[in-house]
Each structure stands twice: as C-alpha cells, then as structure tokens.
C-alpha cells in the first residue's frame, strides 16, 4: 500500500533522444519515472546519472518539453514528452 501510494505520486515521462544524444544513450526513446514535482532539471540530472556519457554534450543541449524549448526548469506532469536537443543542423 505504501509503495503504491508512492508510485501514484510519481510522474512518468517519455524521454526522446536525437542525433548525438541518441548515439550516446543507445536508444531513441524511453519512459522515465521521476518523483512528483520533478522538473526538467531533475529529469536531466537523472538522465546524466543513468547515462554518464551525456556529460560530453550536456553544455550544448537544450531541453524541449512537449515540443517547446524550455529555458527555465519546468515542473513535469504525467505523460509529458521531454526531448534532449543537441545543436541543430537542419537546412
């Protein structure tokens, strides 16, 4: 019961990796469970602890939340889509 209560408080977000970030992590997409009230910054910290290779590009990444770049840490809710955006090179 206690663990179920905890789980209910958690948020599960979808994390997407592109380009160099995808190559470092080895997958293009994963679900990530975070404590309630976690922010995009907490999400990044969790990803960095799971995939230390991301340190290499951390300084140049932008985080996108639900298809928008987020410039300040934003609180996550269940089902949010978080993407790690390395420097773009479209065009």
């Amino acid at each position: 019961m206690e663990s179920q209560g905890k789980e209910n408080d958690n948020v599960v977000v979808e994390v997407l990796f592109f380009a160099r970030a995808r190559e470092i992590v080895g997958v293009s997409q994963m679900k990530l469970e975070l404590r309630a009230s976690s922010t995009t910054r907490d999400c990044m910290e969790e990803l960095l602890s799971r995939f230390p290779g991301l340190e290499e590009i951390k300084s140049v990444l932008i985080v996108a939340l639900n298809h928008e770049y987020v410039c300040e840490p934003s609180q996550l809710k269940h089902g949010d889509e978080v993407a790690l955006i390395p420097p773009v090179s479209g065009g």
Binding site: F18, A19, T40, I62, H67, E68, P86, V88, S89, G91
Partner: protein, 155 residues
C-alpha cells in the same frame, strides 16, 4: 492570430518537389515568387562527403516550421508560404530544405525567404550527419548559438 491554414509545411523522406512548393504559393494576386533551396555539397573543409543523413524530431520540427511561417507573415505581407525539409539520406546536389514565398511586390517575398531559412537553421529540431571516407560528424549550425544562449540557462 494562429497559423495560416494555407501555409504548406512538410517533412518528407523523398526528393523535394520544388515545382509543387512554388505552385503552392502561386496566386493571381501575387507578382513575386521567391524560393530558396539548401542543397547538399560534396565537400566539407576539403573532405569528400560520401553521404548526408538528416533526422528530425518530426512533430516538434513541424510545429516550429509552422510558427516560423507565421512569424514571416507577421513581418511581411505575404500571400503564400511553403517550407519543406527532407530527412533520411539526401544525395549530393539535391535539396534538403526548400522554402518559397509569394507577395504582391518582390521585396517581401525575397526578404521572407531569407528570414525563413535563417530561422530554420537557428532553431528547428533537425540534425544532419556527414559521412566521410574516414569518419562521420554531426553538424552544428552556427545560427543555433543564439537559440542556445536564450534557452540553455536553466539546465
């Protein structure tokens, strides 16, 4: 305001049909159609490029492209706007990106094309990898720096 339903925005895995995009902005009211295509080159800093591969965060990139079209419309009086980006392998000499804009007089369409391509390079979630004989590299648009400066502070 919101997005103009007439803007043609596409991210596709096939060759870009430039005539289609130019026709999409054609209008009896327009006196000018300007276009810009970014084509893949066979060399980068003296190295021969064997192949270029593009990938996109498609739903985000589509949404960004729509917003860039809208921003162009807010800046200039435009009749039609089209932007298309190709993903996957893009052979040398073919367009990876194509933008077109029409307007009553030529100044607006020309300025809009310049704006559209500048904005696409700066912010849209699309990536290019160059494959050389002796390695490969993810490219980085110099124009992305301004986007990063305004967005990377909080993480």
């Amino acid at each position: 305001m919101g997005e103009n339903v007439h803007d043609l925005v596409e991210i596709v895995e096939c060759k870009l049909d430039t005539a289609k995009y130019m026709d999409s902005v054609r209008s009896p009211a327009a006196g000018a159609i300007a276009s810009f295509g970014g084509t893949t080159r066979d060399r980068f800093q003296g190295k021969q490029v064997l192949e270029l591969r593009y990938e996109a965060y498609v739903p985000m990139a589509s949404s960004q492209l729509r917003k860039i079209c809208q921003a162009a419309r807010e800046r200039w009086e435009l009749i039609g706007v089209a932007v298309a980006h190709r993903i996957g392998v893009v052979p040398v000499g073919e367009e990876s990106v194509f933008v077109a804009a029409s307007s009553i007089h030529r100044k607006e369409a020309l300025a809009a094309c310049q704006f559209l391509i500048d904005e696409i390079k700066a912010s849209v979630a699309i990536w290019k990898k160059e494959i050389y004989a002796d390695g490969e590299a993810w490219k980085e648009n110099a124009e992305f720096e301004s986007t990063r400066r305004s967005c990377s502070c909080g993480h």
